[in-house]
């Protein structure tokens, strides 16, 4: 048999399989979540555990927090896990989200070129670090996509009392992974969640320049789309998954997730 024939056969089989999997779409819920939880591999890892004891399939759509909130507001998903406390509080106050629960946290860090031209490594607070980057007009990649990370970064600039308008300030408009790669290629600084940084740092020409400022804490919440606003959402299945995440089992699974031997997230449910 020729390689071409084998290839065609494989394609045909794959098409067939995908059709079958499409038909078996009986019990599934949609979770909108952020690129930081998906690109790090955490969700695939957790869903592997969840699938062992539950039949519900959790379909993951990973986007920035801003877009995840918008999807939930429109009722296009059943539940969401995001990391932008201020925006989430507003979202809940407007009646779009219910039953919010803290799930886990990690923290943000500043990373930059190995030579550290702005000399950020020497300072202890994130505001001072950002100030040095702005004053030396070093390149800084901002997500610029209304994600949780972007919202956090803008809050920090605001706290500094300075608009990030130096010419080295660049908006990537993309996810954390893309932005980190861009920073690496352009020898720029950027702010990233620790999870994505640890997952990608082996492939980047960057180093960690600042961490452990309490202001850099990054808490993740899970919440359900309000079924009173969107009666079609699968609230029971969504609640079941949310409860599992904050249960002893789910929390243990989060705590045991490792990338290159390092823990990325700290479980935080009460």
């Amino acid at each position: 048999m020729s390689p071409l024939y084998l290839l065609l056969q494989r394609v045909a089989m794959a098409s067939l399989l995908s059709l079958i999997s499409c038909a078996a779409l009986a019990d599934s819920i949609r979770l909108a979540t952020t690129t930081s939880t998906y690109n790090s591999g955490l969700l695939d890892y957790l869903l592997g555990y969840y699938g062992q004891t539950h039949d519900t399939e959790v379909q993951v759509i990973s986007v920035g927090t801003g877009k995840a909130l918008k999807m939930a507001e429109n009722g296009d998903v059943d539940l969401l896990m995001t990391h932008a406390p201020v925006a989430e509080a507003k979202f809940i106050a407007r009646g779009f989200g219910v039953e919010a629960q803290g799930v886990m946290y990690n923290d943000f860090v500043l990373v930059g070129p190995k030579l550290d031209p702005a000399n950020v490594s020497g300072v202890h607070t994130v505001t001072e670090g950002l100030q040095r980057i702005a004053q030396s007009n070093s390149k800084f990649i901002s997500r610029g996509d209304d994600s949780g990370t972007h919202k956090k970064e803008l809050q920090l600039w605001q706290h500094l009392g300075a608009a990030p308008d130096f010419s080295g300030y660049l908006e990537s408009g993309r996810g954390m992974g893309h932005s980190l790669q861009m920073a690496s290629e352009l020898s720029a600084y950027t702010m990233t969640d620790r999870g994505t940084w640890l997952a990608l740092k082996g492939k980047l020409d960057l180093k960690l320049v600042l961490q452990s400022d309490p202001r850099l804490l990054n808490p993740y919440q899970i919440m359900l789309v309000n079924p009173q606003r969107h009666p079609h959402v699968k609230v029971d299945a969504a609640r079941e998954f949310a409860q599992w995440l904050v249960s002893a089992q789910g929390q243990a699974a989060i705590g045991s997730f490792r990338v290159n031997g390092e823990a990325l997230f700290v479980p935080s449910a009460e």
Binding site: R10, V11, A14, L16, S18, L25, R30, N39, Q59, H230
Partner: protein
């Protein structure tokens, strides 16, 4: 350079190992794009035929509109479709957003104008006498249409190959209305975008190889058929 080679050979190895995840993604791409093409084909050819053989007021405007639609970016189709299919939109009750049918609709919208434009020029280039002869021999309009389809089959095949190439390679609409959900709506192009974001170039390269191989096979077979038919015609 060595890094590049390592990535490339790892990609080949992943393809050869028959990785079910990888081939599942390929399957999504092919089933979505093939469905879109099959659904759009006959209506598009009919419109192309109609525009080629009937004169009516405003015909030029319809043709100009179709030609402009050729230039519409895939993300714009995705955006419009997203707003229509969202729960907050007019078609929200159909529950289609983030499903494969939504991706198929997007790709139908993308390939339809292309199929019409290319079949229109194919029909226009066809010898008008074919149609006249068929009619004189007592063919019904439908039979005449089929005769003409056969006459311009290679140009139509080229239209099909081009349309398939456009939709299987598009990422904008598939990402927006499909949502890139693993095992459901993750296709070749949205997977490449995701894997690149994770810094995993191997799977991206492997999927890129599949797309390129497919384009090569389709176009080489088309070229071969066209030249082969010419040899037959002139060699007789």
């Amino acid at each position: 350079m060595y890094e590049l080679w390592l990535t490339f050979s790892a990609a080949i190895a992943q393809l050869a190992s028959g990785d079910p995840l990888l081939w599942g993604i390929v399957g999504v791409s092919f089933s979505v794009s093939a469905s879109a093409l099959l659904i759009a084909l006959l209506p598009a050819l009919s419109v192309g035929f109609f525009l080629a053989y009937f004169r009516f007021p405003g015909r030029w405007a319809v043709i100009s509109l179709l030609n402009s639609l050729l230039a519409v970016p895939t993300v714009v189709v995705g955006l419009v479709l997203y707003m229509l299919l969202s729960r907050a939109g007019p078609l929200g009750d159909l529950n289609l957003l983030f499903t494969r049918p939504a991706m198929i609709i997007g790709q139908i919208l993308l390939c339809f104008p292309l199929l019409v434009a290319m079949s229109l020029s194919a029909f226009q280039a066809a010898d008008y006498r074919v149609l006249e002869t068929a009619k004189t021999l007592g063919a019904s309009p439908l039979q005449a249409f089929v005769t003409l389809l056969f006459e311009v089959r290679f140009a139509l095949l080229a239209a099909v190959v081009t349309a398939f190439g456009r939709i299987i390679a598009e990422v904008g609409s598939a990402m927006m209305v499909g949502g890139n959900i693993l095992h459901h709506t993750r296709n070749i192009t949205t997977a490449i975008a995701l894997e690149t974001g994770k810094g995993e170039f191997v799977q991206g390269v492997a999927l890129g190889i599949v797309l390129l191989t497919m384009a090569l096979v389709l176009n080489v077979s088309l070229g071969w058929m066209q030249s082969h038919s010419r040899v037959l015609r002139h060699g007789a």
